[in-house]
Amino acid sequence: MADPTAEFFSSLEQRGPDLLPVKARGTIRFDLAGPDGGVKHWFVSVNRGNVLVSHEYRQADCVVSTDRELFDRLAVGEVQVVAAYNRNDVTIQGNLPLLLMFRRAFPAPPGTRDPRDRVRERLRRRDDLQGRVRPANRILPGDRECRQ
């Protein structure tokens, strides 16, 4: 991936409404320092789940500062933002609850599988091996069956 941070922000406007609570409202500025010391700004405005992203350097309700390398890893889900904050790799000023809501926009760690698939595959394999047939579980309401 060439620029995970740019890809993360560019998909935000589209993904935001599905990911963010309706009550999330406010502005977050991400100040990302490069190895040369230059700081790149991402300005995110959240309103009722709708997201607008720009490069403006404006006053924001919440300001998140870190380096670009770390944010690249946040953008692909490798790093978790609250842990990074707790070890002081990310600093946050202003409205922290807003960032906690925004946390939902970060993706799962790379290679993550749906836990249901893992469990169901394992159970299916075991059932096959042991020749077990799971009873159908749906019954009509009010219809009391006895356990097999």
């Binding site: 309706v22 978790q80 842990a83 707790n86 070890r87 922290l96 906690l100 809501m101 760690p109 009873p135």
Partner: protein, 679 residues
Amino acid sequence: MKRMASILDGNTFMLSDGCGDVDPSPDYPAGLFAWDTRLLSKWVLTIDGERLHALSIDDLQYFELRFFLVPGEPTHYVDAKTSVIRHRSLGGSFEERLTVLNHRDESVVLTLRMEVGCDFADVFDAREARPRPGRTVTTVEDGRLRLCYQRNRHVAETIVSSSEPADVDENGLTFRIELGAHGQWSTTLQAIGVIQGAGGRDVRESLRGYTQNRPEKRWELGEWVARAPRLTCDSEALEDSYQRSLIDLASLQYVGVTSQVKLTATGLPWYMTLFGRHSLITGLQTLPFLPEIARSALWVLSLLQGGRIDDFRDEEPGKIVHEIRYGELGGFEEGPHTTYYGAADTTPLFLILLDEYERWTGDADTVRLLEYEARSALAWLDTYGDLVGDGYLWYERRSSSGLDNQGWKDSPDAISYADGRLPGNPRATCELQGYAYDARMRAARLARTFWNDPAYADRLQQQAADLRARFNRDFWIDDGEFYALALDAEGGQVDALASNMGHLLWSGIVDESRAGAVAAHLLGDRLFSGWGVRTLSRDHSRYNPIGYHTGAIWPFDNSIIALGLRRYGFDEHAARLATTMIEVSGYFGGRLPEAFAGYDRARTRYPVQYPRACSPHCSSAGTPLMLLRSLLGLRPHHGHLTIDPAIPEELGRIELIDIPGRWGRTDAFGRGREHLRRR
């Protein structure tokens, strides 16, 4: 057991031995802690090289304590020529005022020394001296001692200073004092903790909870107690435990770093942080008394709701958090606890509390504001919660350092068959199904009344009815006439008789025809010790009266069971349980601990302490409140409060004045008419 002395203020606490000294201990996390980090691990006072011995300890307030001490070990008689008063408090910082009294008829020169040290251990590590990966530097500057720990960008500091001049070296402060005949001398030592672990935050300056001064704290405590209803009753034990509970609940309030709202810390000393489950349960217990506890719990847990699949944290979208930690271990991902989600009960409990909160307070705005989070929680029940795909609520640990059991009984051996075998994974414990049923029933009401979505409400009700029918088919053990503790991975019954079943009554998932058998088991010899309902039946293989979740008795568990018994009309059973629990509180000075031992009452005649139980503990503090609700039969109904007392003769009269709610304030009265059967 060795006496310890603690003061606390939210998630900050100082735990020392009975003389006020802090030495490393393998048994408990000794020292000054804030944000799960130890800020003092050595704090030892000597006079002329000799340690002191306590004559008495004064518990002044939860954040204030006073020791009266004399030099030397106790002998047949104490004929001390010097005595020392250590008066310590929390609020803004840790302070200790030392006063030395000379009882001689002549002047004397003494050397007073405070040994000071700090390892900055995470509370998880506080009992063992693990080597720290960071660097500790101690410096003496301007008459102050500065202890500093650094690991990458994480910096923690403790600064110790004195109001009187001291000789400061890297291991402490020394005072050479000259006292006249019957003279006295004082100094105030101060320890300030600064953790730059998060955004250069300074625990001292950036957090309201920590910067409060002492008079403000006293005023706030008075306000807190005054906001709660007033209790007058014949039972002294009940009145004591009610007052104690209100104060303990106040002492556990703290302002979270990230959420910036008041949270309830869980238990001293191990869980001085937010736990999703216990915040929700404490919120439920305290609704008729201090509904702000429920409101904050709902607010902060909605902020921390799971947002992605994260195996290390057992997190999934929509799931409500298990615990948060602020310490170094979580920050550097040596453990998942910064935000850990390994709990299957928190999500339905969140929905239950949201509905119950509105029923009491009439705060419809909160229900509308949290619609997104509530719907996410319901979606979690249908998706990630239903791991197997059969409609039940299951759990299985994915995190390498997570919890094997993810209901409230979360120790590794908590869920077993009667013969002691442990079931495979995933597991579906019975109380989880009750919560999931109740959550859907309640969410249906919210969808219909507040979210303008009757179709969704119908669907939720249908799902709940379906779950109830299947649950009564699959979990009921015909031979034993009780509900299985869990289903195992094969769908088979985990056939232990356990207190979890009591929660089913509270949830309303129990078939009317079976409630009698359930109630009889709960108050029967196998589960009921005479003091309370044990976590596990005494005839099971893993039963141990001092087993955390395999025999000990948990007050909060009993408070939920009492409410469940009343729901199904077992008034005498509920009254009996409430009465014994109030009796127990009397043995613990009005303060119910996290858990106590499950020995039979006939054997011990008094409730035995559980070793290492947290105390105070938030949902044990909430227990007397929920028992009061159960005894008075308080229920919000169509905008007013209905009262249906079922009080045993032993407890006499109970009056609760100014119960807050959607009705404004109202009073409840009840008189003991219930005749208890004794076994």
